[in-house]
Amino acid sequence: MKEFTYTIQDPQGMHARPAGKIAAIAQSYPGRVTLWKGEEGVDVKKLLPLIGTNLKQGDTVIIRVEGENEEQAASSMEAAFKENI
């Protein structure tokens, strides 16, 4: 399992656009991708729960990637986050 920490940069937080992009990218990976805010976790592949996290600018979260090629998947996910949110 690979994980990385990320702090939300986007002033509007987790809204439709970044969520849509990130969920789509996660969906293209066969393994599991989860996002954790404190004790609460959501499946990043599921759009509505991802938006429902209501993440705001400045929130720090942990993203966990499990499965084949998880290293590469994790760096792709991190890039996706950096680019979109």
Partner: protein, 622 residues
């Protein structure tokens, strides 16, 4: 949203024409009351437009701004701070306003101050007399019964002894001792004098200074042994003199001797002056005034009455109408004039016409604010209190006021033809039925006055379209066309409008259907309805998007507009929260299409099925 009191006060202050233009400031339950030196220096339009000021009018040197209960006191406190004025009472303001008026106006106001407080007595008597008359006509033989004798006596007391009532009231107004005033009034109708109403039967004369100097039939210093029953003006003048005398004596007599010297001297001197000079001169003058009034009313088959009916509301605006009470009281008290107030029909016609005009405005208006003022004001005018109708509605719109003048003229003319008159003053309009001598004919007068004013106003007054209520946005019903079909159930379009293919959505991510199979809806109104029965999964905090799961397992995201998250909720309202169960067609959100346009974003609504792998074959309407 609470009013910014300081801002309101500052804005009001800015319109008033400077510190030297405001004499005093006070407030009552709803209004700011300002005594203004020169009303022309006040920017009335700007004052009306100040936020918090609901209405403005000025009369008799007093400027009133209607602000509202609970708010005006705060605005007043701020007003004192910004203006540097000190608090004054309502009476101070009234007095300051009055003092800034020219002398004739002050005199007219004084007459009002004398006659208004005694209204209850006059009205009671007048109503009783009306009832007794009515009973006398309705019940044959009633006039012979002891009941009639008793009620008649009770009813005409106020008029029989009017000089005393007037004297007491005047003494209070002029600042003298009211009991000395009572003494003077009683003296003027003393039973030792021949009753003034019986003057025609002859009376004695006391030649106080002998029969030396004389001018024709008039001997210097003579006193007619005749009472002043039925006279009003001589009484007021006499009391005014008495009060001046009393004040002078108070100021100049040593305190120790004041009780003995002042009242005695006051009474003796006033009595002599009254019976030797004031009385004869002013009762003659009064007779001329009343004769003049009667002439005016009856001349030219009522043309004079019509003219008076027309200008009556103008005199109300100028505050001159208080002087009519003198004429009316005089007519009532005087046998020569049949003890009938023939002025009242004119006033009634004028007032009821203002009612008619105001009611027409209230019915024809397309402004709910104006209707809310006009209808109650018109009813008040129908009862005889015309200030709300005149100042609140008719005068502002001008045409209704003028039509009211025309209606008043017509009604007064008709009233004079029919010989209408009342047994009291102070009662006009509908309550006038109790004091009028001919109720049926009175109906005609009211119908003519009110009817003409109403008809003219209703047909010829046209409201400024700027005043119309803005039409409320039309509420279309929830749509029923299916936008996306799935094997697990249908998704109806959530918003009224045209369904367009995703590729037409003005955003690359949505157009690429990144989040799932999508369609766009170009909306025709701003309501988002549930596209199926289901549960709310989440609502964006900014209310511009909502995610739902249908009872059959279809998950959708409805997103209003593109990049509308940047509006941070402005123009959006949400009606459901996460976890709510909703039924198809239930309102979920509303959005303001013009706000979205103003912000520069597209308002196309995007409907996305977000769990395509779980719902089988998907068919989109576009």
């Amino acid at each position: 949203m609470a009013l910014d009191y300081a801002k309101c006060a500052a804005e009001i202050w800015a319109t008033l024409g400077g510190k030297d233009n405001v004499a005093t400031a006070a407030h009552c339950a709803t209004r700011l009351r300002l005594a203004i030196v020169d009303i022309d220096k006040v920017d009335l339009k700007a004052l009306e437009n100040v936020e918090g000021v609901q209405g403005v009018f000025s009369s008799n040197g007093q400027l009133q701004a209607i602000i509202g209960t609970g708010t005006v006191n705060h605005v007043y406190d701020e007003f004192l701070k910004v203006s540097g004025l000190t608090a004054a009472t309502k009476d101070d303001v009234k007095a300051a306003a009055a003092a800034s008026q020219p002398l004739p106006k002050r005199m007219v106001k004084t007459l009002g101050d004398v006659f208004v407080p005694i209204l209850p007595a006059i009205v009671a008597s007048g109503l009783m007399m009306g009832i007794v008359e009515a009973l006398g006509k309705a019940i044959p033989g009633f006039a012979a019964t002891p009941w009639y004798q008793f009620l008649d006596m009770a009813a005409n007391t106020a008029f029989a002894y009017l000089p005393v009532i007037v004297a007491v009231s005047a003494a209070r107004v002029f600042g003298g001792n009211i009991f000395l005033g009572a003494v003077m009034g009683l003296m003027m109708i003393h039973s030792n004098l021949t009753n003034g109403w019986n003057a025609a039967n002859g009376y004695k004369v006391w030649y106080m200074l002998g029969k030396g100097i004389h001018f024709g039939n008039y001997y210097l210093g003579q006193i007619n042994v005749l009472g002043y029953q039925g006279h009003v003006i001589p009484v007021i003048i006499a009391i005014w003199v008495m009060c001046k005398l009393e004040k002078w004596l108070h100021d100049h007599v040593p305190a120790v001797l004041d009780l003995f010297i002042t009242p005695l001297t006051t009474v003796i001197l006033t009595a002599l002056l009254t019976f030797m000079a004031i009385g004869p001169i002013f009762s003659t003058l009064e007779t001329y005034v009343l004769t003049g009034a009667k002439w005016l009313i009856t001349v030219g088959y009522g043309v004079g009455a019509a003219a008076m009916g027309a200008i009556y509301p103008v005199t109300v605006v100028m505050g001159l109408h208080h002087m009519y009470n003198v004429i009316e009281a005089g007519l009532l008290a005087s046998k020569d004039f049949g003890n009938l107030n023939i002025w009242m029909p004119i006033a009634s016609a004028a007032n009821f016409a203002q009612f008619g005009a105001c009611l027409a405005v209230g019915i024809k208006t397309k402004s709910s604010k104006r209707r809310a003022i006009a209808v109650p004001s018109s009813l008040s005018a129908a009862l005889g209190i015309t200030e709300p109708a005149i100042f609140g509605v008719n005068l502002r719109l001008m045409k209704p006021f003028v039509f009211g003048m025309i209606g008043g003229a017509a009604g007064a003319l008709v009233g004079e033809w029919m010989g209408l008159g009342a047994t009291a003053y102070g009662v006009t309009g509908i309550p006038g039925f109790l004091t009028i001598n001919k109720p049926v004919q009175y109906c005609i007068l009211l119908a003519v006055a009110g009817g003409i004013a109403f008809a003219l106003t209703f047909t010829l007054w046209h409201e400024d379209p700027d005043d119309w209520d803005k039409p409320a946005a039309e509420e279309l019903p929830a749509p029923t066309t299916v936008a996306i079909k799935t094997e697990k159930g249908d998704v109806v379009q959530p918003v009224n409008g045209t369904i367009v293919p995703a590729s037409k959505i003005p955003d690359p991510m949505f157009a690429a259907e990144t989040m799932g199979p999508s369609v766009g809806i170009e909306p025709t109104d701003g309501n988002v309805y549930a596209p199926f029965d289901g549960t709310v999964q989440m609502v964006f905090p900014t209310n511009h998007a909502v995610g739902l799961l249908s009872d059959d397992g279809v998950e959708v995201l409805i997103h209003v507009g593109v990049d509308t998250v940047n509006m941070e909720g402005e123009g959006f309202a949400g009606f459901v929260t996460q976890g709510d169960k909703v039924t198809k067609g239930q309102k979920l959100l509303t959005f303001d299409r013009s706000a979205i346009k103003d912000a520069g974003y597209s308002d196309t609504v995007v409907l996305i099925v977000t769990n395509k792998d779980a719902v089988g074959k998907i068919d989109k309407a576009a």
